[in-house]
């Protein structure tokens, strides 16, 4: 297993958001975390990158993350695209990509070429301020930036948020492509269970800070309560 969480708890001040979450992500797969508002999806990702007060055991590639801070976690090869996409709105598209490659040494040229092959518009608009991109483009830029980091694990927080359905499917198509062609392991958090279950190999359903259900996406899609609560049929 590339990533393992065991009994992870997290709190914001006096409010406990995670009550012992355990989940696993295997190398090379796409895993999804589903759930409603306040279920603890975002907090799960924040616990992994240590941007929230956490306890419990988190292992990455067999090694405990312990007390590693967000910078050190990023350097281990975990790219976290946070809520709001973490775009540096005042900087240009190109500068955002350069920041993605910040932890890496040596030539990022090859990766840049690869990124441009997935997102063809980037090369044309490299000098544009990132804040002036559309929501969909900003989400793609966030993916591109994360890819420049050359992570072993990509944490994605609600890539569909605020985007039109067509754009959402485009984004998930690219996520799937990155997963299949580049071997990128992805842990994605989503409210849009429908599209997430299509893209993911494995999924976890969070309810009130705990894993309520888990299994292969294909099985979950057939599951009675998932269909009623999250898929809406």
């Amino acid at each position: 297993m590339l990533l393992e969480l065991e009994g992870v708890e997290a709190r914001y001040g006096p409010v406990q958001a995670l009550h012992g979450v355990s989940l696993q992500v295997a190398e090379g797969e796409v895993a999804a975390v589903l759930g409603g508002n306040g279920a603890g999806k975002t907090t799960t990702l924040r616990a992994i990158s240590n941007t929230v007060r956490r306890s419990g055991e988190i292992r990455f590639a067999g090694e405990s993350l312990g007390r590693k801070g967000p910078e050190a976690t990023a350097r281990l090869g975990i790219a976290h695209v946070p809520e709001g996409r973490g775009t540096f709105a005042e900087l240009t598209v190109q500068e955002n990509l350069r920041l993605g490659a910040y932890t890496r040494r040596g030539a990022a040229k090859e990766d840049l070429r690869r990124v441009c092959s997935y997102f063809t518009w980037i090369e044309r608009r490299r000098d544009q301020q990132a804040g002036t991109l559309s929501g969909g483009e900003q989400q793609m830029l966030a993916l591109a930036r994360a890819f420049m980091q050359r992570p072993r694990l990509l944490l994605l927080d609600e890539p569909s948020l605020g985007l039109a359905p067509l754009v959402v499917s485009e984004i998930f198509r690219i996520i799937k492509e990155l997963n299949e062609q580049e071997g990128l392991t992805v842990l994605v958090v989503e409210q849009n269970a429908n599209i997430a279950l299509q893209a993911a190999d494995r999924a976890y359903v969070l309810e009130a800070g705990k894993v309520a259900l888990s299994g292969a996406s294909a099985d979950l899609r057939e599951h009675e309560s998932v269909r009623r609560s999250y898929l809406g049929y």
Binding site: E90, Q94, R98, A101, A108, E123
Partner: protein, 340 residues
């Protein structure tokens, strides 16, 4: 330069870089106003050699205001406070240079050694006294900078005494005459050194990996951490650069004002005015603001007898007041819009 630029390199980047340097949107009227002012200065200089001399010495003092204002902006962007001790830190740096010179180090040796010491000192200050109170809020940091002000003031007085001392110019020599206008050598050196430092700093921010990380850390610390930027070290680096800039300003000013523990205090006020005039968050604004204030108060002092040399500072602050009444965010500042 990272390889990303090499792939992306091209002429198009410079135009946008310039646009970005001057600040986003709504700076159009400010630029027009400044251009008109420049035209006025050029025509005046062509008509009268005395006017030209006043403009040049105004640019020289303005360049030092600009350097100190830029130091304030660097720290403001990183830590979100005005560093009240910036002037006293520069004063202390200048004393270090004086001491090195007194020990027989050559001028440029002392100059660069002082820059290095100030840079490390700035980092040390951030680590030792700013970082521990960071969580206490902005007011706590402001109080700490007041404490630093008093500390450096007292230390300088204790070590070097209160008597004004001579500080040598970088190059001494008789004024250079060009077309009837006499330029003081020290003024020219001051302009070249400070503007050179500002340009180097700009290149650093624009084209190096660390410079980019520094900007990212100041803009969005949370997101910067997630791409692996060590944000707290970046803030310390900002303090180091600010301290070095202040040292440059101090060493350039000291030959004309004499070196004493209080010699940077008035300069700091001019630098505040320059930084606020430029919009506080805009490095380019701080430089333009510094130059504009330097030239303007020099002309006012020379041509309006009643202002003379004693009322220059109030005149500078009056200009600032008028500009802020018309454009509250400064010439190149962004209007304070926050998403909540």
């Amino acid at each position: 330069m990272s390889s990303v630029e090499q792939t992306f390199g091209g002429a198009g980047g410079h135009v946008t870089a310039l646009r970005r340097l001057l600040g986003p949107r709504s700076t159009g009227p400010a630029v027009v106003l400044l251009l008109a002012y420049c035209v006025f200065l050029v025509i005046g200089s062509l008509k009268s050699t005395q006017f030209a001399q006043q403009v040049v010495s105004g640019i020289a003092s303005g360049a030092t205001f600009a350097a100190l204002a830029l130091a304030l902006v660097l720290i403001y962007r990183a830590t979100e406070v005005i560093n009240l001790a910036q002037g006293e830190m520069a004063m202390f740096s200048t004393y270090i240079a004086w001491q090195l010179l007194a020990w027989g180090v050559g001028y440029w040796g002392a100059f660069f050694l002082t820059l290095a010491i100030s840079f490390l000192g700035g980092i040390g200050i951030e680590r030792l006294v700013i970082r521990p109170v960071e969580r206490g809020g902005l007011l706590a940091i402001v109080i700490v900078t007041v404490g630093l002000f008093l500390l450096f003031d007292g230390l300088a007085l204790r070590i070097w005494g209160g008597l004004p001392r001579d500080f040598p110019p970088a190059i001494s020599g008789s004024p250079i005459r060009v077309g009837g206008v006499a330029f003081s050598v020290q003024d020219l050196v001051t302009v070249c050194v400070t503007i050179g430092a500002v340009i180097l700093l700009w290149l650093f921010f624009q084209f190096t990996k660390v410079g980019l990380a520094l900007r990212a850390a100041a803009l969005r610390p949370d997101a910067a951490r997630l791409v692996g930027v060590r944000v707290s070290w970046m803030l310390a680096l900002g303090w180091g650069l600010a301290a070095a800039l202040g040292a440059i300003a101090g060493m350039m000013i000291a030959p004309t004002t004499l070196l004493s523990p209080t010699f940077m205090q008035a300069i700091l006020l001019y630098a505040f005015a320059a930084a606020v005039l430029g919009g506080l968050e805009s490095p380019a604004g701080a430089v333009v603001g510094g130059l504009a204030i330097g030239v303007t108060i020099n002309l006012l002092g020379a041509y309006i007898g009643w202002i003379g040399s004693v009322l220059r500072l109030p005149a500078a602050l009056a200009i600032l007041l008028v500009v802020l009444l018309i454009k509250p965010s400064g010439l190149f500042g962004r209007a304070a819009v926050r998403k909540v």
